[in-house]
Amino acid sequence: SQELEQSPQSLIVQEGKNLTINCTSSKTLYGLYWYKQKYGEGLIFLMMLQKGGEEKSHEKITAKLDEKKQQSSLHITASQPSHAGIYLCGVHTGTASKLTFGTGTRLQVTL
């Protein structure tokens, strides 16, 4: 089965600082999904990366897919308190749109 490891597990940054979260797969990545979860709530879809080298941005969040490294990175520029939450990467496994998720990265943004 495919496993996803996220690093770091948790992160505390000061408002305005940049940060990067990594998601490394045990197998070849053919596509990867990033979700965000506010504490105690459901997951919200951020973006999907489907090709090696692909890079997507949404507001101040940028994600890249490096097929060779079997890794994706999520970069937040000039972090804000609204960025706080848990970030999870996911990949499709098997059929019926099943997603397997990483263990998540908990982000806190201090004032």
């Binding site: 089965s1 709530e41 997603l99």
Partner: protein
């Protein structure tokens, strides 16, 4: 706005009780999923369904069953709740062939 609604946000049950977690989606999605989320373990798939009355086991189905009698509703059943089933339960849905899941807000279950 598309929605996945989980009827109970917080539940407290006793060991041995039968527990029903309900999930309803209004998007006419074929696929529905139940995950549980635990600290350090991330989200793990319990069961999923790709059609009415169809179900497939996920990665951790032991101790759970599901029911999908109508397209919009997917229920997770704990036949005899145990303390190790204390967790956050998340329901999700998607269209066939679509790869983005829409999640509900979650149901936090505590089993005493």
């Amino acid at each position: 706005d598309v929605k996945v609604t989980q009827s109970s946000r917080y539940l407290v049950k006793r060991t041995g009780e039968k527990v029903f977690l309900e999930c309803v989606q209004d998007m006419d999605h074929e696929n529905m999923f139940w995950y549980r989320q635990d600290p350090g373990l991330g989200l793990r798939l319990i069961y999923f369904s790709y059609d009415v009355k169809m179900k497939e086991k996920g990665d951790i189905p032991e101790g759970y069953s599901v029911s999908r009698e109508k397209k919009e509703r997917f229920s997770l059943i704990l036949e005899s709740a145990s303390t190790n089933q204390t967790s956050m339960y998340l329901c999700a849905s998607s269209l066939v062939g679509a790869n983005v899941l829409t999640f509900g807000a979650g149901s936090r279950l505590t089993v005493l």
